[in-house]
């Protein structure tokens, strides 16, 4: 039975990917608390501004299925006039969404009782720096932004406040984002040294992290895209869990986003995988910090600033494309798209390889999609929307269509890890059982120049990646360590993810590589992408507790009773 979630008690950023919900501009601020009482006053003053996940109405939303280049599953629901989130609509979409999180030391600094803190998970107590060896960050600790290198003692990061705002037609953030920034600075100043805004982001040591979606320009103006700086469309296939959406929306969104059952049908994941205090995929309510209302409806978040080496990526793809073009006898432009798609698992516009396994099929997919868009054929567009996420890998055990070691298939292997994957007995199939406990909600936005056509020019570019889950250890760290930085689960030895994995220059050892596998029964030979350079480098981050509105009040009022 699905219980209605108390959406107004859950912070908005957990359920909503702001970047794709009309908030393409963001600023992230980090604070340290030097006086517990003043820190609590700061939190209490901020509390009324925090955006919850309660359902809202956006009067400016465009026409479903036609408002974006590619149709989205959520628009399928909206096109039918069905509610996406449960509950009554009583809110208008805000201009700026504000959210807050705390590191372990932050909770300690704010006077959260020891009895509550002691039940926090190890990895959260450790913080991201201490987990560097697990995450594969140890080589990059010295090149992190100053704010993270200096995050100790008096400059320890305690509080994250994120502002996600709408944008003006000229691509600049709306004025309200600056107003909220000023209000935040004033609150900090009013603490009289009790709360300090930390600086040290990027080369110019800024006092906040500026973020923006990559913007595309057309005849009508600038439009936010779901691209990151490698020009790959991102943000498909986020997990869908029980209670997150209204019943009608859940029915559609769980297809490809939920969990795959024995009978190959889809179901939403257990709420407890993403929100504390609810039953999870192990069919129990996991232990959490007490009192339970402190943990319930909260979650954990990994904040990671990932620098993207755009020049190296483009050079590498060009180099491999030239080789692949010669090898496979295809034009270089097509080879560039093919190589990139094989590394990622999706074509550059997000069409999954499982839907369109060849360049030709991709062209056909897009031609049909363009025709449906031109004809405003909503029924057809609804079908297309589902094809972006609704697929399994059972038909492709060797990865001839979508390489098993591609970024997307590593991040969410769906049914690839089914122990009875190759069994002819359908009744023995286990669906995505081994993956259901390793899912993460992915949030965040790119930083750096937002012009889609801007060339690499030495400015820092990358993405602030936010991973939300109930257990950073079991979900985020596992995916990062075992599936991104290692390849044994995919029979790929110690090969790391071709896109975000570590590709260290090893003297005498094999350089980083990835095999573009072909059908063993066919004539085509496999192609080895080798000498993959380091494409993504971590620039720092930390683990945050994202409390419910109830817990935030308990923290701010200093009335947590753990007995």
């Amino acid at each position: 039975m699905t219980a209605a979630l108390d959406l107004a008690d859950i912070q908005g950023g957990i359920l909503r990917a702001y970047g794709r919900q009309g908030f393409p501009k963001a600023r992230y601020f980090f604070f340290t608390v030097r006086d517990a009482a003043k820190g609590r006053v700061f939190v209490e003053a901020l509390r009324p501004r925090i955006t919850s996940a309660a359902r809202w109405k956006n009067p400016e939303r465009g026409e479903p299925l036609l408002r974006t280049r590619n149709p989205r599953v959520k628009d399928v629901v909206r096109a039918e006039g069905l509610p996406d989130y449960p509950g009554r609509v009583e809110l208008l979409k805000p201009k700026v969404a504000i959210n807050i999180g705390f590191t372990f030391t932050g909770l300690f600094a704010l006077g959260v009782p020891t009895r509550t803190l002691r039940a926090m998970p190890d990895e959260f107590i450790d913080g991201m720096e201490k987990r560097a060896a697990i995450l594969g960050d140890d080589r990059f600790l010295g090149t992190r932004d100053a704010i993270w290198r200096n995050s100790s003692d008096e400059k320890r990061v305690h509080i994250l406040v994120s502002l996600n705002g709408e944008m003006n037609p000229d691509g600049s953030p709306i004025a309200e984002l600056e107003e909220e920034t000023r209000a935040l600075r004033s609150l900090c100043a009013a603490s009289n040294g009790g709360v300090i805004l930390l600086s040290g982001h990027g080369a110019d040591q800024a006092d906040h992290q500026d973020l923006s979606a990559i913007l595309r320009r057309d005849a009508t103006g600038l439009w936010p895209t779901n691209k990151e700086h490698f020009h790959i469309s991102d943000g498909f296939g986020d997990p869908v869990f029980e209670g997150q959406f209204s019943g009608e929306a859940e029915r559609l969104r769980m297809i490809g986003g939920g969990k795959l059952l024995h009978d190959q049908s889809w179901a939403p994941l257990a709420t407890g995988e993403f929100l504390l205090g609810h039953p999870d995929e192990a069919q129990e309510i996991p232990g959490a910090a007490m009192p339970i209302e402190f943990s319930r409806n909260g979650t954990f978040m990994a904040y990671r600033k990932l620098d993207e080496n755009v020049g190296a990526f483009r050079d590498y793809i060009d180099d491999q494309a030239r080789r692949y073009a010669r090898f496979a006898g295809v034009p270089t432009d097509a080879a560039r798209e093919i190589v990139q798609a094989k590394l990622v698992g999706r074509w550059s516009d997000g069409v999954p390889l499982m839907e369109a396994p060849t360049f030709q099929k991709w062209q056909e997919f897009n031609a049909a999609l363009t025709a449906a868009t031109a004809a405003k054929d909503k029924a057809k567009l609804a079908e297309f929307a589902l094809r972006f996420t609704s697929f399994t890998y059972r038909s492709d055990p060797v990865g001839a269509r979508c390489p098993v070691t591609s970024h997307m298939r590593r991040a969410n292997p769906r049914d690839t890890l089914d122990p009875h994957y190759s069994s002819p007995d359908k009744k023995s199939w286990d669906g995505s059982a081994l993956v259901n406990r390793r899912r993460i909600l992915r949030r965040g936005l790119p930083y750096g120049p937002w012009d889609y056509d801007a060339q690499p020019d030495g400015q820092e570019r990358g993405i602030v990646f936010l991973a939300l889950c109930s257990s950073l250890f079991r979900q985020f760290e596992f995916v990062q360590q075992q599936w991104m930085q290692y390849g044994l689960d995919f029979n790929a030895g110690s090969d790391a993810c071709p896109v975000i994995g570590n590709h260290p220059p090893t003297e005498g050892g094999p350089p980083a590589k990835m095999m573009i596998v072909t059908d063993p029964a066919g004539q085509d030979l496999p192609f080895l992408c080798d000498r993959i350079p380091q494409l993504v480098e971590p620039r720092g981050g930390d683990y945050f507790f994202v409390p419910s509105m109830t817990a935030l009040r308990l923290i701010g009022m200093g009335i947590i009773d753990p007995t």
């Binding site: 699905t2 209605a4 003053a45 509390r47 039953p279 109830t550 009040r553």
Partner: protein, 316 residues
């Protein structure tokens, strides 16, 4: 009637709290803030003053609003969000295998459709509880209406409540029978009528004896009929014993006539005053003790419940 026991009324209710939408209310900075209804209930409860039961609460100096009623012994609120799910029910592995139990398929777990507020209040009933708990809640409404509005304002049905009568009716509609009341204000065991085992056996024997004696005197029945009648009499005897025991058991435990809240407060006050008195007299001449005790009685007036006494809502 289990709600009244040992002379006290034990009120229990579960009140459903709205779980839809948001509530707009002023935040700390006066600007409007929107929260979920249960959030508002929690906030009202967390900021409701408790009894002055610790140094911290004594320093605040604001006692629980329930202390305004000299009939309230104890009041407790608990938010029931969801029943806590402890995982799959235990099942034998071999039996499960034979039955083909799919351990990956989650078992259904009970969920509440909305949060509930558990309300438990022990108070002194008037007139033997004839018009309770209605009279108590009507009185409470007059004593702490703003606090009651803050706590219950977002519960289903409450917004329609107007006045003391309406509040009492609404809360009583959420009442459950209290099945296990407890308090202990008896110093000596109360004089309870008891049933002796011998008495119960005698009742049983009495029923059985009737057909046997009748047979001995008049030779009415043949053997099998007599046996049947004896068995029937035995059953009637057992039933009579059962009804007797259950009837006595259903009677409320007698209340101590001196266990209303004013009595309890006075006795707590006297205990402390008398302990001080005894301590003071220890080193004094026993000849002065009588006069001192008369002074004690004059000062502390043990039979006067109106004072001096311990104020309600204070635990010392």
């Amino acid at each position: 009637m289990p709600n009244i026991d040992a002379g006290h009324y034990f009120f229990s209710a579960i009140v459903p709290v709205c779980n839809e939408g948001t509530i707009e209310h002023p935040g700390v900075d006066g600007k409007p803030i929107r929260s979920s209804p249960i959030h508002m209930v929690r906030e009202a409860l967390e900021t409701l003053p408790t009894a002055l039961q610790s140094h911290a609460t004594e320093a605040i100096g604001i006692a629980s609003p329930f202390a305004r009623s000299l009939r309230t012994h104890f009041a407790r609120f608990v938010v029931l969000d969801q029943p806590f799910f402890n995982g799959r029910a235990y099942g034998d592995a071999i039996v499960g295998t034979i039955r083909g139990t799919d351990l990956l398929a989650a078992e259904p777990d009970d969920r509440l459709s909305c949060p509930y507020l558990l309300v438990m209040i022990d108070f002194d009933p008037r007139d033997g509880g004839k018009d309770e708990p209605r009279a108590y809640f009507e009185e409470l409404w007059g004593l702490m209406e703003p606090e009651l509005r803050a706590v219950f304002g977002y519960c289903y049905g409450f917004p329609g409540v107007s006045g003391a009568t309406g509040f009492a009716e609404w809360l009583i509609s959420c009442q459950l029978d209290t099945t296990m009341p407890f308090n202990d204000y008896w110093i000596d065991p109360p004089n309870l009528p008891s049933l002796s085992a011998a008495g119960l056996v005698a009742i049983l024997a009495g029923f059985v004896a009737v057909p046997i004696l009748a047979q001995l005197r008049y030779h009415f029945w043949h053997g099998p009929v007599l046996i049947l009648l004896v068995l029937l009499a035995l059953l009637v005897g057992v039933a009579a014993d059962y009804l007797l025991v259950m009837g006595r058991g259903a009677r409320p435990f007698p209340g101590n006539p001196r266990a209303t809240l004013p009595h309890i407060l006075k006795s707590l006050y006297l205990q402390r005053a008398f302990a001080r008195f005894v301590t003071d007299q220890q080193d004094r001449d026993p000849a002065t003790w009588g006069a001192a005790f008369r002074d004690f009685l004059k000062t502390h007036r043990p039979e006067d419940l109106t004072g001096p006494t311990q104020p309600p809502g204070v635990i010392r």
